[in-house]
Symmetry: C2
């Protein structure tokens, strides 16, 4: 039976593009969290959408599961294949099909690496705004499947906001396609939005039309510090008005996060600013009118310094200064090293609820693990906080204790346990903490209707609850 | 049976809030197109979400249909009740529940009039960006149900982009609620996006949390003219770079539209600009730094005038000049009067495909009705075009001929037959022209799963095909 299936699958993709059992590399069986191992029966590398559809039809008929594996940069186990199932890699489907500069769209295959899509757009004077640390490995299909956010959501939104056309293969092998270039389409139900962020459980995204923006030609970056949370949010709201429409990043850091990360980087570079303040923010704006943009950015910061809201500010005067400012937010490995093993969280809430969340999370943790280190940072404009939690050791009990403390605080402020990375395997037991039973029932209705045999990425999201 | 049902419904909403048969006012039985009349059995005005849920449970048990009626500003029959069904008005559910200035959100009941929501936000220094001509009648529930766009989509997106929390009653009377204030929530399937734009056929929206923006304090408005379509799009793209992030409207008008509308307004005011050019655009930007914003806006336009892209430009120097410029785009009644009866269209496509669409639509019409008048205008940045078609008379055959000519051209360029107003009744026969059979099958799967008895707004969208 399995041999027959292997032969039939090989007939679709070609012998060279089918790997079985032990011949499947570790990359396809594990994600960046390294928490989940798996033993898929087949790894397939189809050449086009028709081959994907043929694979799904066969898998559906045989009751074999399919998990799409992308850059494996996720942290919650979303793209770890099921044992005995098919791991589907779209790495051969990596073409940039078209860039339309008049409509400002890019048509791309799902296996394309995000950074290559960035570079192709920039070569044509356009910006694909989605940007995140994993840009060199993450695939377009992966960032669609998780509705990735990153560090420019404040201005240009999440991946969902950039997907204007989509092609996917459904669980019965049907190809559903709407590779259109218009922003507005209210002709029937918007199934694209249902697939975006569904972690490969409702369909296999094969191609997309993405919205591009004119490439900014100026960029201003600053690091600012305030005493209080209220003041740092006042900076955000005032900057949103003063550099109206141009504010692209507002990366919030609690004082202890800034202290720990900048301390660890001292061997490489001096601190951009002293570590004595309560709150820090990396503020960035982009535009197309450099001289005026710089003047406006500085005028806005100066007003906030003069009225006492900002206690300290550094404005990057060169690319290397800009890099130094971003390093404390993005070059986290040195600062995190002494905390290993640690647990990282990616949660969201209304901006007003952030202080209450942090206070509750600290209190919950203090009750369970009085010596725990907790560091908070995130994308303030998006209501998205990251948390690092460590007591210097880790096992299942500790992990559960950490999760309970953090997600309990999320529940108390009406937030979400998954702002960017999705639910996958590791977050599934807590999904009911922030989603009501009626919401979960609706989600199950949708899953059962679209993938009644549950062959697409089983064991994840609702299946893992 | 019917009397029993009436008594049971009255027990839910109270006698004062139930109207039956002839006692139901025309407003609740007809939309602004005046093409569709109906004879609902009941008009109910519930006080809260629990009453809505009780009504739906009873209607579901009895197999009686429910159509939510809002401001009735739609043009395609989406909110005209079914004969013998329930017309549900949420006009008593019109409260602004909360404005959270720190999180920049507004929680509002679905029956609230858009303009009242605007005013409440502005009173707190915030902007609810969705704006359209029908603002004084359209309800929040209505603009969610149709995913309304309007004249600021270019900068702030459609209604979909402003809905961050939603509460709805499903077809079995279940209340599904996620009235959260965070922009990012990737914890499970995004059912909110499925309900937005579903024209009341998948659930009854009862409350929403809307995203607000800081209120701009400066506004620049210009009317510009170019010879060619390529040049007017060059203006759009250059302005997007030069006034980066601040460009909020780019309203495109073909020369003959401008000529006809400004001609009809001559009794009230002189033309802002001569009518000899090929293409016109109303360009508007908003910001928070007035002096710098004005200088930047004028510098950008000046560069486009100096290099010959823009042939003529008028910049509003006062609110009354701004009104005069907007009048030619928004005060259409005088210009349209001599064309009555006419048919109006709301279609979309990639910006690059607009000239081909216009050419094909004109050719199709010339073949069928050589004397037809066709005027084109729209939201260029969104790929959204409006068309007015007239031969001075109208009947079903003419209507079908017009629809065939326009939608045939939409199909040829891969566009959408419904950019903003939805499908309702009148567009349904053409839905298959731009949606594939596999897309329609997926939509039917979703409808059957969520509303298996088809009691929510029957006879619309897929039901009307």
């Amino acid at each position: 039976m399995s041999e027959t299936l292997a032969a039939r699958l090989a007939a679709i993709v070609g012998d060279r593009h089918l790997h079985a059992d032990e011949a499947i590399g570790e990359h396809y069986r594990i994600d960046v969290s390294r928490k989940y191992q798996s033993r898929p029966a087949f790894l397939l590398k189809p050449a086009d959408t028709e081959e994907v559809a043929a694979i799904v039809r066969l898998a559906s008929a045989e009751g074999v599961s399919i998990t799409v594996v992308g850059g494996q940069t996720g942290t919650v186990g979303s793209a770890v294949p099921a044992d005995g199932g098919i791991a589907l890699s779209l790495e051969r489907m990596n073409r940039i099909v078209e860039i339309d500069e008049l409509s400002m769209t890019m048509t791309v295959e799902a296996g394309c690496i995000l950074q290559l899509a960035h570079e192709a757009a920039e070569a044509r004077g356009a910006l694909l705004p989605l940007d995140l640390g994993a840009r060199g490995s993450a695939t377009i299909g992966g960032v669609i499947g998780t509705n990735a956010g990153g560090n420019r959501v404040l201005r240009w939104g999440m991946m969902r906001d950039m997907v204007i056309g989509l092609e996917a293969v459904l669980a019965d092998g049907t190809i559903v396609s709407s590779l259109t270039k218009m922003l507005k389409d209210n002709a029937g139900y918007n199934w694209k939005h249902l697939l975006v962020g569904s972690e490969g459980t409702l369909g296999i995204v094969t191609r997309a039309v993405l919205r591009l923006r004119p490439l900014p030609t100026s960029r201003q970056t600053a690091l600012v510090a305030t005493d209080s949370f209220e003041d740092i949010i006042a900076v955000l709201r005032r900057m949103e008005v003063m550099v109206s429409g141009r504010l692209s990043s507002f990366e919030l850091m609690w004082g202890d996060f800034y202290t720990a990360m900048s301390e660890a980087l001292l061997v490489q570079r001096p601190r951009a600013m002293s570590a004595e303040h309560g709150f820090y923010a990396l503020v960035e704006a982009m535009g197309g009118d450099e001289e005026a943009d710089i003047a406006q950015f500085e005028r806005a910061l100066m007003a906030l310094i003069e009225d006492g809201t900002i206690k300290d500010a550094v404005i990057a005067q060169s690319d290397s200064q800009r890099e130094a400012i971003w390093a404390v937010r993005e070059d986290l490995a040195p600062g995190l090293a002494p905390l290993r093993p640690f647990s990282s969280y990616d949660v969201s809430m209304g901006v007003a609820d952030m202080p209450a969340f942090v206070e509750k999370a600290r209190a919950n943790m203090a009750a369970a693990y009085p010596d725990a280190t907790m560091l908070f940072y995130g994308h303030a404009g998006d209501g998205n906080l990251h948390a690092i939690v460590s007591i210097g050791q880790m096992d299942k009990t500790i992990q559960h204790g950490f999760d309970t403390a953090v997600f309990g605080a999320v529940r108390d402020v009406g937030g979400s346990i998954a702002a960017e990375h999705g639910i996958g395997v590791s977050r599934a037991p807590f999904l009911k903490w922030t989603r009501s039973e009626s919401e979960l029932a609706l989600m199950r209705t949708l899953k059962d209707a679209i993938d009644p045999k549950h062959i697409l990425n089983p064991g994840k999201l609702l299946d893992a609850m």
